[in-house]
Symmetry: C2
Subunit: 266 residues, 2 copies
Amino acid sequence: MTLTATQLKEFDELGYLVLPDCFAEEEIAILRSQAEGIYDSEREEVWREKSGAPRTAFAAHTYNKAFGILGRHPRLIEPLEQFFGEPVYMHQFKINAKAAFDGEVWQWHQDYGTWKRDDGMPQARAMNIAVFLDEVMPINGPLMFIPKSHQHGTLEAGHDKATTSYPLWTLDKTMVTKLVGEGGIVAPTGKPGTVLMFHGNLVHASPPNITPYPRKIVYLTLCAVSNHITKFNRPEFIAHRDFTPIEACEDDALLQFARKYRQAAE
Amino acid sequence: MTLTATQLKEFDELGYLVLPDCFAEEEIAILRSQAEGIYDSEREEVWREKSGAPRTAFAAHTYNKAFGILGRHPRLIEPLEQFFGEPVYMHQFKINAKAAFDGEVWQWHQDYGTWKRDDGMPQARAMNIAVFLDEVMPINGPLMFIPKSHQHGTLEAGHDKATTSYPLWTLDKTMVTKLVGEGGIVAPTGKPGTVLMFHGNLVHASPPNITPYPRKIVYLTLCAVSNHITKFNRPEFIAHRDFTPIEACEDDALLQFARKYRQAAE
């Protein structure tokens, strides 16, 4: 999958791109059911909300076949290789649950702020590319982006270890208010299979989910290989230390896997 | 203001009505600034979130002139007199802040569940009619309604005193999931001056507000006079004991007040 000149210009200006209909329901269905199985298991990679509901599962590409394929999928790898102009490796891989009724807030932050401070990543030459496993609606805790905020570089942040179960470098209210005054807020929604890519310095957050609708999103954090991290403070399943360039699989690999899996189950 | 047969039919089916453009910006602006003054004051009627941000201000119609006029406004009183077929009195009056960044959740509940259990209100012949003081957007903690849920009467509920600073009779996840399966969820949005009326048994909630956009809504709880409460457990400023029928003021009373107030300030 190759980004057009128009898409690259839009990304440059706003800091994000929404790519609907990237994955078919047949491909997403297997990921959705596998994710639920992962959340139900007791693993150190599965982090929970204070209520016990799943919050995020790290590194599923290393222990689950379907997510292993997703982590090499050309529809995700190629756009970022194109953007960075070099091969990429997997810095982080997570499936965020935003569970029905219990999914908690992710406070306002920049991803690169954490990768820089905690992991010693030299530059903002990494970004998240996300795949919706459930429908993301305005009401079930969508991601909120502040368009254009990536243009400010890495902003001052405080290390919030209290609000949720996951420590995060977060921006203060004054800064968020200023940035929203400039760029507003957008909350991209879409069917399962929608893909979002967003700049490592784009300021974003997501509100709690109080509805019965779960809102699972997979995030691949892909980093230009030449920009690999230099500090190993966090567990390896959160900030990977294998900088091998990812070789994309075939475009139909996930579809074929889903079909075989279904046949085997029948 | 009189409701049409079509509006009454829609209300009967869905349990709520959205009435855009009921109040002009000139009328809303004075209420908005007065509300902020009330939140800044130390009064027992002003309840706060755990963060200290305002959550709700009760009974402002009894101590503030502009809200006193709103509490007798024909655009709010007349539709409910028409609906109940008799005069109404003010059971509760509150200005909910849903403050920028700090506004917390209101859990899934029915209003009449509280009026019945706590206040001994005989029947669901009371309801909230709400006026937006700020723009209500999908992102700043809108009310979420479960359409048609009012048709189930008063549902089982538990008394939640822990989640927020305000005790509430709330529904459990199983019941909410069932009702949402039948009716879905709507989150009416609109400009300042929009009015919402909703049945006392309509199940609703509102999520936290993590944006810099405040979302103030005034709620008049109007009760048919013959259906007045019979238990006086809660403070009088929360559940009023004056059952005198409200006599509506002139339709331009708030506008005239706003103009005089502005002239006096200039």
